[in-house]
């Protein structure tokens, strides 16, 4: 009763606590100022798929679009234990999520999935749209977003718990279905980072990553311009935690309007 799973894994800008200018003179993202990382929610989705495989078997395939820029998410997925990887020849930086979803859907159709498709819900850099929702529509599959836990998966159906504004919902969907995974699953990365030596070995290892040719797809949304957001200038003051007098004047000052 095992279910085959496909996981979309993306390399995205690492936008955590950026310092300095992010844009170059032409208004493009400065690659050296930002760097990239494995989309953290996709990592959750991958972990969800691998746990399902550990528990009840089934094949896990990781799919990614585009050439690696800094982090090779497909190799990383292989290292973590997926059975197969596929690279989709489409440029994620040049396409919007609707167009990208078409590219992914093409690969998924060719691979013949009738099972579970997992992906992170939002991309932290911009969340310009939700790839999972576009993908479900492209595949005419059911979808559940912000999934925190997969409670059950059989070849026919999945039961997932999703986060909503004031709590949770448990949703049952027939397969095929796209489950977009949220942040809750992975507090600490259970497949811990490995040594530099192991990473190098992984890099050197010859693996054949099959490529899927995506048909020419047109983006429906474009970036019309980027501008630096002016730095928020506030007056900050260090307050001595030991000094009751300083703490008192802080509270008095902060509580009165200015």
């Amino acid at each position: 009763m095992s279910v085959d799973t496909m996981v979309i894994v993306r390399e995205v800008w690492d936008t955590r606590d950026l310092v300095g200018q992010v844009l170059d003179d032409t208004g493009n993202i400065k690659a050296d100022a930002v760097g990239t990382r494995f989309e953290p929610e996709d990592l959750n989705a991958l972990e969800m798929a691998l746990r399902l495989k550990d528990a009840q078997g089934g094949k896990v395939t990781a799919i990614s679009a585009g050439e690696p820029r800094g982090v090779d998410v497909l190799r990383e997925a292989l290292y973590r234990g997926v059975d197969a990887v596929v690279r989709v020849n489409a440029d994620p930086l040049a396409l919007d999520d609707q167009a990208l979803a078409e590219a992914y859907a093409g690969a998924i159709r060719e691979l013949g999935s009738q099972g579970l498709i997992l992906i992170g819900t939002t991309v932290l850099d911009g969340e310009n749209s939700l790839l999972g929702a576009h993908l479900a529509a492209a595949l005419d599959a059911e979808q559940v977003s912000w999934v925190d836990e997969l409670e059950e998966a059989t070849p026919e159906r999945a039961v997932a718990r999703r986060a909503i504004e004031m709590g949770t919902e448990t949703v049952e969907v027939p397969l095929p279905a796209v489950l977009s995974v949220g942040v809750a699953l992975l507090e600490d990365d259970p497949r811990s980072p490995r040594s530099a030596k192991a990473m190098l070995k992984l890099k050197m290892k010859k693996v054949d990553i099959p490529a899927h040719e995506a048909p020419a797809i047109e983006a429906v949304t474009k970036t019309a311009g980027r501008a630096a957001v002016p730095e928020r200038v506030i007056e900050t003051r260090a307050v001595d935690a030991e000094s009751e007098a300083e703490l008192k004047s802080m509270l008095d000052e902060a509580r009165k309007g200015d």
Partner: protein, 321 residues
């Protein structure tokens, strides 16, 4: 002048505040054009009068007992039927867990451009652009449709003002006509576990917020005591809610409430961007954190480096003095 359509979320007869903000944004964007609303969810017909009063010209109601709990397919089908009746220039959704699930699903099925969680949408060069702040709030990106026709945008909390009600504006709501069959209801919500709202963070003048740094229930109690001493509401990060220390209605940030109190006291909060976006506009921010390098200090007016379990009792003491 353009026609604008707004998807209005209704949960158990209660109108979602972000939907009302979208209605406000739609009125401004329409610039004399027609503003149409689809009120969807259980008890949706009951809020129609409010929608007219706040600026809707036409209201359709989607209240199918089979779709009382949101699932994507029937809602997407209903919205598409509604949009096809009278195609607008822009369709607005609230950037909620429903809106951000539904908007791209509708856009993908209609093959029309879509931008989510925007800070605003405006007319530009004969078309429209949606703007959003990204990259750790360092970059504002403008997104525009590549082709003519419907533009779908979801607006996040705080992107527009809630319009005031004008009792002289009235109208008649009409049920949406859409054919749904059993296959549209293949996805089913088995269980719903939603907290009752116990705090009103949005109207709070002072918020004392707890982060993972409280460590345990005792640490949380200290935060609560400070809130009591100040007559404040207690807010929380997602880490605290996920740990089960406080209910979800206390959460502030991207997936929680957006607040603008006069004073925000962040206790044991690192200041991840997903939290900051929800509290950045507080008039004054005090941060208490053991780590002098915590990002929260970058947005705090008062930086208190120290253990909250030591600092807060001192604050309570000087307040009582």
């Amino acid at each position: 002048m353009a026609d604008i359509s707004v998807f209005i979320e209704v949960d158990d007869g209660v109108l979602n505040d972000i939907s009302l903000q979208c209605l406000g944004a739609a009125r401004a964007l329409a610039d004399g054009g027609v503003v149409r609303c689809l009120a969807a969810g259980a008890g949706a017909s009951g809020i129609a009068a409010d929608l007219f009063a706040r600026g809707a010209d036409e209201v359709k109601v989607f209240d199918d007992s089979r779709a009382a709990a949101y699932t994507t397919k029937p809602y997407a089908k209903a919205v598409i039927a509604w949009l096809n009746e009278a195609p607008p220039a822009v369709a607005l959704f609230g950037a909620t867990t429903i809106g951000n699930d539904l908007a791209p699903s509708v856009a993908a099925r209609l093959k029309t451009p879509c931008v989510l969680s925007a800070d605003g949408v405006e007319a530009a060069d004969g078309g429209y652009v949606a703007r959003r702040v990204e990259f750790d709030r360092k970059v504002q990106t403008a997104y525009a449709p590549e082709k003519e026709g419907l533009f779908i945008v979801s607006l996040h909390d705080g992107a527009a003002e809630t319009p005031a009600a004008d009792a002289s504006r009235t109208g008649e709501a009409v049920p949406l006509s859409v054919e749904l069959d059993d296959s549209d209801f293949a996805a089913r919500v088995l269980k719903r576990d939603v907290a009752k709202k116990t705090v009103n963070l949005k109207d709070a003048k002072i918020i004392v917020a707890a982060g993972a740094g409280v460590g345990n229930a005792e640490g949380l109690a200290v935060v609560q005591q400070l809130a009591d001493a100040l007559g404040a509401e207690v807010g929380a990060t997602r880490a605290v809610v996920d740990a089960g220390w406080l209910a979800a209605d206390h959460q502030i940030g991207q997936t929680g409430a957006t607040v603008r109190p006069d004073l925000y006291i962040a206790c044991g909060i690192s200041g991840a961007v997903q939290h900051r976006v929800g509290m950045l506009d507080a008039r004054k921010i005090i941060a208490i954190n053991t780590d002098a390098n915590a990002p929260i200090f970058k947005v705090a007016h008062y930086q208190v480096v120290g253990d909250l379990k030591v600092v807060i009792p001192k604050l309570i003491k000087v307040l009582a003095a």
